[in-house]
């Protein structure tokens, strides 16, 4: 392959799919992306994540449809991989309880605080939080969350026997978001899509947790105002420069909160009514706290959960959700019915910011002008589960 990137920083996209991992690479102009892969062919790669604290390190959460889940680690930008010697797993229950939890898959990998270079967090299905203190080689459960009522399979509003819990997502309940306060590594937020789902806050490195869900809707429950948990955040983010500003794309809209407030505000009400504010991902501008991007999907009728009207678009706000701009230049203007999942939208840190998303139809799209226009960077890939970016120095 011709080296078109010599002398300029590289932008890499790690594209995780249901059948393996692909890498798209460009120089900082982001004009031409070269595609390489697959790595882990045939594996369901839920999340491939670079380590911002060590730019040659990548962690990958993978399983196959039939074998158990594991974690792979590379310290040479993906040239070689080592499997974790102890992947995330629940403690063994000695009495042989048939319902004892086992990790189905690791869904999300999150690098720890910059002051803790070997620390990683993992969110799994069923919903649980794991931590590694050795760069991802061995993992232990965060008992403060995993043994709490918030990681329970019980329906919070079920009072009658015979009401069986149902999985929070088609692939099972998940802990999908971990947010670490850049000012304090012991201050954490997590979010789950689960029976007792919601956003939770810890101020003691995960030993204890408090729900943070007031103000969110839950139109699948009769009385959400009276619930502490049982909500369905799809994606939780905090702005790195203004970490008291939290955003979530929820099953029931787009929400924002400024701590120490305890009540979320539905800023998605300001989206066009014909599009709505249902979706999976939300991404925050690395420098501008009031700027965010979402990718709406159709939440009407029987919840098609694909691009409304077959016309996919990113929506961008530059005023903290008070108004939203449709960003669809370059995207198909009809008969395009894909979905962008919660980990499948990512940004680079360039100026202007690059906006990227991977679709369930196997396409990867990118914008190098903060969403003003998009180009298709790759097509015919498998179902895209996640996209992450990394910038490598020249």
């Amino acid at each position: 392959m011709a080296d078109t990137t010599r002398g300029k920083p590289e932008i890499r996209l790690l594209v995780s799919t249901k059948k393996g991992l692909w890498t798209l690479t460009s120089d900082s102009d982001r004009e031409h992306f070269a595609i390489e892969g697959p790595e882990f062919l045939g594996h369901i790669v839920n999340h491939a994540v670079p380590d911002p604290r060590d730019p040659r390190t990548i962690l990958v959460a993978a399983r196959t449809g039939h074998l158990g889940p594991t974690i792979f680690r590379s310290r040479d930008l993906g040239k070689t991989w080592q499997e974790a010697s102890r992947p995330p797993a629940f403690p063994k229950v000695e009495d042989g309880d048939a319902k004892a939890r086992a990790v189905s898959h690791t869904f999300a990998l999150v690098p720890g605080h910059p002051s803790e270079p070997d620390l990683w967090y993992a969110g799994t299905s069923p919903e649980a939080l794991f931590r590694s203190e050795d760069g991802g080689d061995t993992w232990s459960g965060v008992a403060g969350f995993n043994d709490s009522p918030w990681a329970s399979a019980e329906l919070p509003w079920a009072s009658e026997e015979g009401v069986e819990p149902t999985p929070g997502t088609p692939d099972g309940d998940i802990l999908h978001s971990v947010v670490i306060d850049p000012r304090d590594p012991t201050h954490l937020y997590v979010a789950t899509s689960a029976n007792a789902g919601g956003v939770f806050e810890s101020r003691d490195r995960g030993e204890s947790w408090t729900p943070l869900n007031r103000g969110c809707d839950a139109n699948f429950a009769p009385d959400p105002e009276k619930m502490e948990v049982g909500f369905d955040p799809h994606c939780l983010q905090a702005h790195p420069l203004a970490p008291d500003q939290l955003w979530q794309q929820n099953h029931c809209g787009i929400y924002r909160i400024e701590r120490p407030a305890e009540r979320w505000e539905r800023v998605g009400d300001n989206m066009p009514a014909e599009v709505g504010d249902i979706g999976f991902p939300i991404s925050l501008h690395p420098r501008q706290p009031d700027t965010a991007w979402v990718f709406p999907m159709d939440g009407t009728d029987v919840w098609p959960r694909i691009s409304p009207g077959g016309r996919p678009a990113v929506y961008r706000t530059r005023d903290a959700g008070r108004s939203w701009t449709r960003c669809d230049r370059g995207l198909p203007d009809g008969q395009a019915w894909f979905t962008v999942l919660r980990q499948a939208m990512a940004l680079d840190a360039n100026d202007p910011v690059g906006v990227y998303f991977g679709a369930t139809c196997g396409e990867v799209w990118g914008s190098r002008d903060e969403g003003d226009s998009f180009r298709c960077l790759a097509s015919h890939l498998p179902f895209v589960l996640a996209v992450e970016t990394m910038t490598l120095p020249a």
Binding site: H66, L67, E83, A100, A102, V103
Partner: protein, 85 residues
């Protein structure tokens, strides 16, 4: 004893047939994991349940428990059903 390894697990063993020891299936899997680190968790979960689509045969008879006793000349097959697109 001889252990036949399903194709999706051969990234660990680099062979279709390997040797491993144990008084029962549970011990055999621990020995396999010592020889081929990581393989056990792909086929047995943390509660020591066989993963759903992994099947174990001892002397060509399917077994459903890990405490099945083994003798040195037994033959173990670890197979995996494949389905889906």
């Amino acid at each position: 004893m001889k252990v036949f390894i399903a194709q999706p697990l051969r990234s660990y063993t680099n062979a279709a047939e390997v040797e491993a020891d144990g008084q029962d299936l549970s011990e055999l899997l621990l020995d396999l994991d010592r020889r081929y680190p990581g393989i056990r968790f792909r086929i047995i979960d943390e509660q020591e349940r066989m993963r759903q689509h992994v099947k174990f045969f001892v002397n060509r008879q399917q077994v459903g428990r890990l405490d099945v006793p083994l003798a040195p000349h037994d033959e173990v097959h670890i197979l995996q059903a494949l389905s889906g697109g």
